[in-house]
């Protein structure tokens, strides 16, 4: 079971990022969150969500999902996915201490996050 993201439903409101940060810090902050809305290309309206899992980075782009195995060697031998992306953020633990499950899923106002 894992957190899944529908990037086309996402509205980049960052509620998931806020909720995850709260889960980590018992406070409101965005630095510890393992789910991050990438929103640096706002001039092009190109946004999505990155989720750090134990072994993978899930990149939910508008055109589809990409799962990068952390540290994996890419075809052609170049290697792309860093061995330590988002090093200081812990991987998703599915909010295992919450009966209601992942807080990001619960707080998403547009049901863009679900469990699979």
């Amino acid at each position: 079971m894992g957190v899944k993201i529908d990037p086309l439903k996402c509205t980049a409101c960052m509620a998931c990022e806020l909720a995850c940060g709260y889960h980590r810090d018992d406070a409101f902050a965005l630095l510890s969150s393992c789910i991050v809305v990438y929103r640096t290309r706002d001039k092009k309206d190109y946004f999505g969500v990155i989720l750090k899992q134990e072994e993978d980075l899930v990149i939910a782009r508008p055109e589809g999902l990409e799962v990068k195995r952390i540290g994996a060697v890419e075809e052609g031998g170049g290697g792309d996915a860093s061995a330590k992306p988002m090093l200081l953020r812990e991987a998703c633990d599915l909010c295992s201490d919450r009966e209601a499950g992942p807080l990001c899923r619960q707080i998403c106002p547009v049901e863009a996050i679900y469990l699979d």
Partner: protein, 433 residues
């Protein structure tokens, strides 16, 4: 203030270049709540310096649904009275996490400056190279210099530098919803822009209970009449303006929400790319973000096509003009075509109708998504005031009566560990007029 705050107020004197700090006392929050309430108190305290005051609301940046709002308080060059302009998108949140709860900017700089606010530091930087640049170029230059595209830039464009009545305060590339000409107020201080970035942390008095209440509120809010709707076309339709929705629809790319705001009130129009394209468009500037239904309605009312309106909106964004004000001024001047409007943007003049109080209306009149209360001017005025005190999205506050005053006051206790009662709230609302 220990909770939901950084406990710092920055006082910046542009004339001397001095930056001072004060703590944010509990009593000020208990009396004025936050946002526009505290901004106004600080404005009055420093009014000799004709200040521009930036402040986050009590719940800005928190888990309360709709917590996107920061507030800019200053004397409007348009009305000559003190006004409060909204900082939505991500700007209010960034201000809240910037390490300062409030920023008072007084006096005027001798030469062009910009203010770089980050993690409890406020640095005045030279802006000679930025002066004269359009809004987009200045935003990109600052972000490139500082090395981060997430920096939120509150800027004045060339229109402001040239003293236009309609020069709005901009957020990054886009209009902020400022209808009061605060871009011009900024430029009059020789201040080109304010760049904000904060990696801060807000402690909560009762974290678990506060979060639980927020989730409960969200659950209630999600059942509202707006559920399942996104963007300005749906908003127009929800106000009964189906023709406006249909006019806009062919250009709509995606919808974006402001920080932690359930309803995505910003719609991106693709003008130089196929709106159905999902991958990153190759065009560097494929379109324009619109968050102001009044602006769209005004431009449609001039007889422009949606594409023409998009071009006008894009040009307004570059120049730093309030597009709703531009549409209204164009209508008053009898402008009927896009070419004429575009040609006259640099010199267009006010007045801007509908600015009778210190807050600009968040939505055109009428019932939103059939919500009868939202058509009542008195109810609207009260909800707007609450939004500007608590730091909640002004438009969403009109859609979500579930965010009741009782619930908000209950959250105050859980969030900051201080009690604020209904009487104090009434007084704070009255205080901002």
């Amino acid at each position: 203030m220990e909770y939901l705050a950084s406990d710092r107020i920055a006082i910046i004197d542009l004339a001397s270049g001095e930056v001072n700090e004060e703590p944010y006392p509990d009593g000020l929050c208990q009396e004025k709540i936050g946002g526009a309430g505290v901004n106004l108190a600080l404005y009055q305290q420093h009014q000799d310096g004709e200040p521009i005051v930036l402040g986050a609301g009590l719940f800005t940046g928190s888990m309360v649904p709709g917590s996107d709002l920061g507030v800019v308080t200053a004397k409007s060059p348009l009305t000559g009275t003190v006004c409060h302009a909204p900082l939505t998108q991500y700007a209010g949140m960034e201000l809240k996490y910037s390490g300062f709860d409030y920023i008072v900017i007084k006096g005027a700089a001798a030469s062009p400056k910009y203010l770089w606010v980050h993690d409890g530091i406020a640095d005045l930087e030279d802006a000679a190279d930025l002066w004269g640049q359009d809004v987009w170029a200045a935003c990109e230059a600052v972000r490139a210099n500082m090395g981060d595209e997430l920096i939120q830039v509150l800027g004045a464009g060339p229109a402001a530098e040239q003293g236009s009545d309609l020069a709005a305060l901009m957020i990054n590339y886009w209009p902020s919803g400022d209808r009061f000409g605060l871009g011009r107020a900024l430029a009059a201080k020789n201040l080109k822009l304010i760049a904000l970035r904060g990696l801060g942390l807000l402690e909560i008095a009762e974290p678990e209970d506060f979060a639980a209440q927020c989730l409960e509120l969200l659950g209630a809010v999600k059942g509202g009449a707006w559920a399942g709707k996104k963007g300005l076309a749906d908003l127009a339709a929800g106000l009964g303006q189906q023709a406006l929705a249909d006019w806009l629809a062919p250009l709509v790319h995606r919808h974006r929400a402001s920080f932690n705001t359930p309803f995505a009130a910003n719609t991106f129009l693709f003008l130089e790319a196929d709106p159905s394209q999902l991958s990153e468009p190759p065009a560097p500037e494929p379109g324009v973000l619109v968050g102001d239904l009044a602006a769209l309605a005004g431009l449609q009312g001039l007889g422009l096509s949606a594409a023409e309106a998009g071009q006008v909106l894009g040009q307004c964004a570059h120049l730093g003009l309030d597009p709703a004000g531009v549409a209204a001024a164009a209508a008053a001047a009898g402008v009927k075509d896009a070419a004429g409007l575009m040609a006259g943007l640099a010199t267009i003049k006010g007045p801007v109708p509908g600015l009778s109080g210190p807050l600009a209306p968040a939505a055109p009149a009428g019932a939103l998504f059939g919500l009868a209360q939202s058509a009542d001017p008195a109810w609207r005025a009260r909800r707007q005031a609450l939004a500007y005190l608590f730091g909640l999205d002004p438009l969403f506050m009109l859609m979500a009566p579930e965010l009741s005053e009782e619930k908000l006051l209950e959250l105050v206790g859980l969030g900051i560990g201080l009690e604020i009662g209904p009487e104090a709230l009434d007084a704070a609302v009255a205080g901002i007029g």
